[in-house]
């Protein structure tokens, strides 16, 4: 399959690099066999991603709450602000390395990238639109039918094509050019002594959930932040399994400098607050993760260790990703 994807890409457009698996990353999960990334498909997906036509009153685009310079999150907002400034209940997660995601949303309720956009488009506090209506608007638009033709062969605008184009753009949002990646791939960069020590501490204290190289094991866990104001039950709403109550998906540690605030409801404004939570703020709540069930709940860390861990975490910031013109609104 890798071969055919490669072969296709090459013949479609020499300058356009289709999806590339970074050297230090595993095989992607997304089924590229059913949706080969082409220049035309990707560009259509990018245009759709940044087009407010996807919302009821044509004011909110995907890019409104997933801003590239914030690693495709809504930086500075605890929960996302949608249509007519209505507030959501959760923090916008980054559009980053989604080709490796085994599930989507903080609760994992969506299991296929191709199905994901239906949720924000139809959510009453996000875009509050119907996909049927978006498709009508796209059909009536002067440019879109031609762009669908370039991407898929005919001017037909269908749900599947609409979703697949968005998936092509989102799957291309790969963050794999942080300092950490360069060090791991032996591209010439090296960690400072502090970063090296931080890396060792990360492996000891963080890596069981925030597993390399994606820095998440994609599991659902209760990290002891305590029940939020709205009693969000997290994964429980999807499985109706009491052992899933208050569990949320482990987020990646990549690009933390750009993605504050943190946690599913954005309650921690700084990384210091996050580390302090793990060292001294973990609360005994239903289904608290076993890893955090120590004599004193949490992960013991001294102030010096926190400084080192933070130095390492900074090596996961990927400036190339947040500045990549290919992924920007054109």
């Amino acid at each position: 399959m890798a071969f055919s994807v490669y072969a296709c890409t090459k013949s479609v457009e020499k300058q356009f690099l289709s999806f590339q698996q970074p050297g230090n990353f595993p095989e992607p999960v997304y089924r590229f066999a059913t949706n080969l990334v082409t220049k035309e498909g990707f560009e259509l997906g990018r245009k759709l991603f940044y087009d407010p036509i996807l919302s009821r009153n044509n004011t909110i685009s995907c890019g409104s709450c997933h801003i590239q310079t914030s690693a495709f999150t809504q930086h500075g907002h605890s929960v996302s602000h949608g249509i007519e400034d209505k507030l959501g209940v959760r923090n916008s997660p980054p559009i980053m390395n989604l080709a490796w995601n085994t599930s989507f949303m903080w609760d994992g309720g969506v299991f296929d990238l191709d199905l994901q956009p239906v949720a924000p488009i139809t959510n009453h506090v996000e875009m509050d639109e119907t996909v049927t209506n978006v498709i009508s608007k796209l059909k009536a638009h002067p440019d879109y039918p031609g762009l669908f033709q370039s991407a898929f062969g005919t001017t037909e605008v269908s749900t599947a094509r609409f979703m697949k184009a968005l998936s092509q753009f989102m799957a291309m949002c790969v963050s794999s050019n942080s300092k950490y990646d360069s060090v791991i791939r032996k591209e010439g960069k090296t960690f400072t002594k502090q970063e090296e020590e931080g890396y060792a501490l990360y492996k000891q204290k963080c890596s069981s959930c925030h597993t390399e190289p994606l820095f998440t094991d994609q599991s659902f866990r209760n990290n002891g932040i305590g029940i939020g104001l709205i009693d969000d039950a997290g994964r429980y709403a999807i499985t109706l399994d009491e052992t899933d109550r208050y569990k949320f998906k482990v987020p990646s540690l990549r690009n933390l400098d750009y993605t504050a605030p943190y946690m599913h409801d954005g309650r921690f404004l700084t990384l210091d607050a996050v580390l302090d939570h793990y060292s001294s703020g973990v609360k005994q709540t239903q289904n608290l993760d076993m890893i955090l069930q120590n004599n004193e709940p949490g992960i013991p860390m001294t102030a010096d260790e926190k400084t080192k861990v933070k130095a390492f975490l900074k090596t996961l910031n990927d400036k190339v990703f947040i500045a990549n013109k290919l992924l920007s609104e054109q």
Binding site: S4, A7, C8, S11, V12, R31, T34, L36, T38, T102, S103, M105, G108, G109, V110, F111, D112, D114, L115, V118, A119, I121, T122, N123, T130, V131, T132, I135, G153, S158, T159, A160, F162, M163, K164, R235, A237, I238, T239, L240, D241, D244
Partner: protein, 262 residues
């Protein structure tokens, strides 16, 4: 572009050939239509206008009634089962849309004594690539409100209405029943099978090139009065919830074969 096109062509060819293999060996096909006639006790169901009384003595009006029927199978008088090709076997019955009340399938000519179908959408189709989900299965358009975007999956059965027994705003009641068993973690499974014997009401005699019509009565009164006595006052709203299994168990009994038009 050339190789991209040829791969697309290959994919198309393989899809087409798959489809072909699924069609039962059948040189003399005829049509079988299954009519879903929604009623309440002995009365026809009318949306929004007529007040009905359920087995808990609660008055109610129905504003929406929709359900998926899929995976239709018929058994002939010799006991041989014919499975309708899956791609042609999904129907969304919508009380507000007369044209949707009849599910028409193509099967070999023959005499059939049993019809079986799924209420809802099987787990395979719930997790299939979006390109294979067209028509009523298009999760964004065709499903017409019968899809949960936040917890990927079809709503199998939806009834909404108003009742003075409901303490909800606007006295509404709504049952949105789905759940195909979960993708990566097991959860509720409300997929229900229905088997109806046709011998009393009349076997379906499907002629080559012709049609037989199986007329089913779908009694909403039994939705409230099944293995669980469903009270609107006690449960005005049921969606993705463990209790939904009681409702799907109830609605698995609402289908009755009335007569056949050969």
């Amino acid at each position: 572009m050339k190789s991209y096109l040829s791969i697309a062509a290959l994919l198309f060819v393989s899809l087409v050939s798959c489809k072909k293999d699924d069609v039962p060996e059948n040189n003399n096909p005829g049509r079988l239509s299954i009519e879903f006639d929604n009623i309440v006790d002995g009365q026809n169901l009318f949306l929004n206008t007529v007040t009905y009384t359920n087995s808990s003595g609660e008055n109610y009006k129905v504003s929406t009634l929709k359900y998926y029927i899929s995976n239709i199978k018929v058994t002939n008088t010799a006991g041989v089962e014919v499975v309708v090709p899956q791609d042609s076997s999904y129907f969304l019955i919508d009380e507000s849309d007369e044209a949707s009340h009849s599910a028409e399938v193509t099967i070999p000519k023959g005499e059939y004594r049993q019809v079986a179908f799924t209420i809802g959408v099987d787990s395979l189709r719930n997790t299939m690539d979006i390109a294979r989900r067209t028509g009523v299965l298009d999760p964004a358009a065709g499903a017409n409100g019968m899809y949960w975007s936040w917890n990927s999956g079809y709503i199998f059965f939806k009834i909404e209405g108003v009742s003075p027994a409901s303490a909800e705003a606007g006295n509404v009641f709504m049952y949105h029943i789905g759940g195909f068993g979960g993708y990566s973690s097991p959860t509720i499974n409300n997929i229900r099978e229905v088997k109806l014997d046709l011998t009393t009401g009349g076997i379906a005699k499907v002629p080559a090139g012709g049609e037989s019509n199986i007329h089913l009565m779908v009694d909403i009164a039994k939705l409230f009065n099944g293995s669980t006595q469903l009270s609107i006052a006690a449960k005005p709203v049921v969606m993705f919830d463990d209790f939904s299994a009681n409702i799907s168990n109830n609605y698995s009994t609402i289908f009755r074969h009335d007569h056949t038009e050969n």
